[in-house]
Symmetry: C2
Subunit: 217 residues, 2 copies
């Protein structure tokens, strides 16, 4: 919050002595009650200090950042995800790239029948192969995709914050949003969405402009 030294001092005082009235704080700081008012207003607004009429000020330890954390952690992947763009494993690398351009996406998911996630391919993957002089027409997308189980995934009910951390930590541009099903001993991942850095940047803008509450509240 960027508190001033006096605000820090008042917060400390409320923490050790609270509940304490404005008059008592003013007396200890040797200032008037009126001079203190803006500082107290900021401390209350920040949530760090709470005021209870006829009792006084007391310390909560909460602040705007921790409230923000609470707020943001409530937004789910399903609230911001995009539709997935998929091809089958027998598609040529060339056709997979054509799909990328037609759909204007940076990542295409490779699926088996039933929409089960088998692989992921990005612009970077294809560019690397294209630079090597390979003929993309003759190459099935299967050859150059990142296959399961190496793919980092997210689910509709995961918090966007957790999913965003996965994107950053694994240095990928997007995550497949999957629905996990158990089939005897094996788990299958049905692709039902796509979470991208663009989704996150857009959410950042929405939250920053104060529109986050409307859509995700």
């Amino acid at each position: 919050m960027g508190l001033t030294p006096r605000q820090e001092k008042i917060a400390g005082m409320v923490k050790t002595l609270g509940p304490i009235t404005g008059e008592q704080i003013a007396e200890r700081l040797n200032v008037t009650r009126a001079a203190l008012r803006p500082d107290l207003a900021i401390l209350v607004m920040s949530g760090l200090v709470e005021a209870r009429p006829k009792v006084g000020y007391y310390y909560t330890g909460k602040n705007i950042i921790s409230m923000l954390t609470e707020q943001v952690s409530r937004i789910k992947v399903k609230d911001v995800q995009s539709v997935p763009v998929v091809v089958t494993a027998s598609t040529s690398a060339y056709d997979a790239v054509v799909t990328m351009f037609l759909e204007d996406v940076g990542t295409v998911f490779i699926v088996e029948p039933g929409g089960i996630l088998a692989g992921v391919i990005s612009r970077k993957d294809v560019l690397k192969v294209a630079m090597g002089g390979s003929d993309l027409h003759k190459m099935p997308v299967k050859v150059l995709m990142t296959p399961m189980p190496k793919i980092v995934v997210t689910s509709p009910d995961e918090s966007v914050l957790t999913a965003a951390k996965k994107i950053i930590e694994n240095e990928v541009d997007s995550l497949p949003v999957v629905s996990i099903a158990d089939h005897q001993d094996t788990k299958t991942y049905e692709v039902i969405g796509r979470l991208t850095k663009t989704n996150i940047a857009r959410l950042f803008v929405e939250l920053g402009e104060g529109r986050g509450g409307e859509h995700h509240g």
Copy 2:
């Protein structure tokens, strides 16, 4: 904030009748003062309602989202930007892509002497040309770059929020961070940084985890 119906009702009451004491609110709602305490605490915490000892509760119209907006709008591009990766206009498209891979970036800036921005090239741009079967070795990067003045730029002191909006609205992955100089009638843009969707996603994670205040406060 996701207020409960009763909290909404109390907020409305404070808005029209404030300043109003907790006792008066309790009386109007026909509940005890104690039953009301958690709701009032949440309204004060949210910033929507402010409490002033010995006066009562009054309406501020501010809420956590508007405080968040204030907080976020103070973070500048220079607080989160990455270093720019640049090549000269005579570089071949092939070598520009090699630079992309070596530096692991999705966008390379093309500069004139003095680091003056001349163009931008992305993975998508190169992939399109590679798919068309052109020989990237023989093609100067100049031929396929997006040239000035078509490039959307940002500056170190612009708010990250404004810059993020430019990224979303112009559907680009990154913006060159430039320092603008006037030379008689013409402006030149010296490239001094790079703002990417990754920078924004990382900031989102930092803010969401409550680490934003430390670095950008």
